[in-house]
Amino acid sequence: MEKRKVVSSHAIPFWRDIRVLRVVSQIVFLVAIAAGIWWLLNNLQTNLRNSGLSITFRFLGDTAGFPISEGLTYDPTNVNVYAFLVGVVNTIRVAVIGIVLATIIGTLVGISRLSSNWLVRRLAALYVETVRNIPLLVQLFFWYFAVMLTALPLVKDSISLPGSIYLSRRGLYLPSLVPTASFSVWLWFLLGGLALAIVVYVLRRAQLKRADRPGIPIGWAAIALVLVAVAGWFIVSGNPLSIDLPVLKRFNFEGGLWLSTPFASLVLGLAMYTGAFIAEIVRAGILAVSKGQTEAAKALGLRKALVLRLVVMPQALRVIIPPLASQYLNLTKNSSLAILIGYYDLLNVGTTIFNQTGRAVEMILLIMGSYLTMSLFMSLLMNLYNRRIKLVER
């Protein structure tokens, strides 16, 4: 078949040519958006100049002047930027522990909702429906004011558990490990042990691959690290770490590791709340796996627990991970409610800084930037994980 050249007497005029129109309309739209943003920023600039204010970040180097009682070692004579860092670290603490707990609670409750046991199913459904529908703020107040501050005893009547553990209204006090003078030397041993562990891991993995055997030799790597660490402990003079026990003084316990009640209330409240949402996501993921898979697995003779672990969950994870990422981001951002129950998170510290220095715009930019960074980082990790477990179609 010969191709016939289509001869048209008129070329399509450019104002009707769809390829041109597509490009031009996008350019026009871009210009309009850019102009809009430029106008807004210019407006902001002019208004700030007229009000005599300006955006500078010099105040970050000023002395903070206010106390922060939780988190990294901090003194009111430290600078504002360090105070903010303490707040950020506190938020990360809550976020990490909250995410781990929420995932565990969510997975268990989600699977329970599909249990064949009627009572388990109903209780799980009751938990999800109740917790999802009460505002998070109310739940945090409930945990802190209604539970922690009434159920737990006063500091002087603390519940003491064996091993110098004390539980009271102010928090949980545990013995902690404190680095001593010889710790920095031992740290080199740890780093060396880590390097050895990585080498062992890589070599063993290559060995297994050659033998065509599956396996992730974490155990081997861990043993290597532990051996070097223990060897280092005995080689170094004195003990690199010493135990610091909490001791009751007139008002509070001094020393040891302190987990405050606002921290506990925040973590529990966030974990329970986000856990309910995660439970529904997990349930949706499991239901998304076609019934044929379960039936085939049972036909092969696998028991129910193994069906879930080996066949259903790997496939369900592909549906679960994307909405799970949003829930993790929600948890991190919801931790900003800490200021209402007295926990020193980044919004609490940031607000104090902007109240003391008057630099509202800069601090809000900093706070937004921090949350944005944490969220983007978390999204990145979740996307990487998602890509790894994605179904590779034939």
Partner: protein, 363 residues
């Protein structure tokens, strides 16, 4: 709170964009959303109108107040009425200008930003006069102090604390957004004591935590402590320590760059001081007569003082007729029937009685 609502706004607006991350329009829309929200958070409008013109045009004064501090600024949930020492000041300003009042309850954290952003015309919310707030850092002006206060501590009688020296290692609850945290840190550092703190966004939460023994002490202005003690579970169990660790002069605030409005609010406050000094009360304001030229100028019978401020000539009479003089306002809210803060011998007495309530020359 401002920051939280800003974050929520950004969240909501960015969710309106297309979900497809690779779409350029979606990304652009998200950037637009962030920029819009950024500007919304800093809504400084450039207007040529002064505050007085705005208030007259609007027909009412918008005053930022406290809604949860009995005696100073309190919203009665049952009746929906605002009452308190600071509320009377707002009523006085409105009476001077000849308009109604609308009250905007504000937390400590948002009060200064609300004034800067022109959401309110005047802030009368037990705010301390500090250098930073007065300077161009924050761009606010302080009108005369209506209440001289100091920061103190409230503790449980059972703990046996007699002064700040006994509080080494204690946990102290504070409310965010005030000068309290800084003063507390300074005072403890000065005495070489260590402390733990717990900071809350709202006073009720902070005092509630102290009452539930999460803290050994709550610190704030002494007037606020007197007010909050009435809300404790067992008021008699608590005692306010005699230590005063800072100066807390409280008064109304206006914005920088509005001298005419600043003068008006300033002289409304002075009018209440002047009236008490010369025995003009709410009952006799409208019918008061005198041969003293200064009082005649005050009443608007001569001198043209009203025109100088941009108000009606009988503005001072309207103020006193609406709220009474300083002594009457104090008696109503902070006297034995109110918070019972003794006036005699304190800085809040008239200058003729050894206090600091003093009105400049009325001419």
């Amino acid at each position: 709170m401002v920051a939280e609502s800003v974050l929520q706004e950004a969240d909501r607006v960015s969710k309106m964009s297309v979900i497809d991350k690779s779409s350029k329009e979606g990304a652009l829309r998200r950037r637009l959303a962030v920029a819009v929200v950024l500007v919304l958070a800093v809504t400084f409008c450039v207007t040529a109108q002064t505050t007085l013109e705005t208030v007259l045009a609007r027909g009412k004064l918008i005053a930022g107040v406290n809604a949860s501090l009995p005696g100073f600024g309190f919203l009665d949930a049952a009746t929906g009425e605002f009452s308190g020492f600071d509320i009377e000041c707002a009523k006085a300003i409105a009476a001077a200008v000849g308009v109604d009042v609308e009250y905007v309850p504000l937390t400590a954290g948002e009060r200064l930003t609300a004034l800067q952003a022109r959401q309110i015309d005047v802030l009368i919310r037990n705010t301390t006069w500090t250098l930073t707030r007065d300077s161009k850092e924050l761009g606010l002006d302080f009108c005369p102090t209506t209440f001289y206060d100091g920061q103190g501590f409230i503790v449980r009688k059972a703990d046996g604390i007699n002064s700040i020296e006994d509080m080494d290692g204690a946990t102290v609850c504070v409310t965010s957004g005030t000068t309290t945290e800084g003063n507390l840190a300074d005072a403890f550092r000065e005495h070489g004591l260590s402390l733990k703190t717990q900071v809350f966004a709202e006073t009720e939460a902070a005092f509630g935590a102290y009452d539930a023994a999460a803290c050994d002490c709550y610190t704030s202005d002494k007037s606020q402590l007197a007010s909050l003690r009435t809300t404790a579970a067992v008021p008699g169990d608590h005692v306010i320590l005699p230590d005063t660790i800072s100066k807390e002069p409280l008064g109304p605030l206006t914005r920088h760059g509005d001298d005419e409005w600043f003068d008006i609010v300033k002289w409304v406050v002075f009018a209440t001081f002047f009236a008490e000094e010369h025995g003009i009360t709410q009952a006799n304001a409208k019918t008061f007569t005198s041969t003293n030229p200064e009082i005649r100028r005050f009443l608007g019978q001569e001198g043209g003082m009203g025109a100088k401020l941009g108000l009606a000539e009988d503005w001072a009479v309207n103020v006193i007729a609406a709220v009474g003089n300083y002594g009457e306002i104090y008696e109503r809210h902070l006297g034995p029937n109110g918070l019972d803060i003794p006036r005699a011998g304190s800085l809040n007495a008239l200058w003729t009685m050894g206090g600091m309530i003093y009105a400049p020359a009325w001419r």
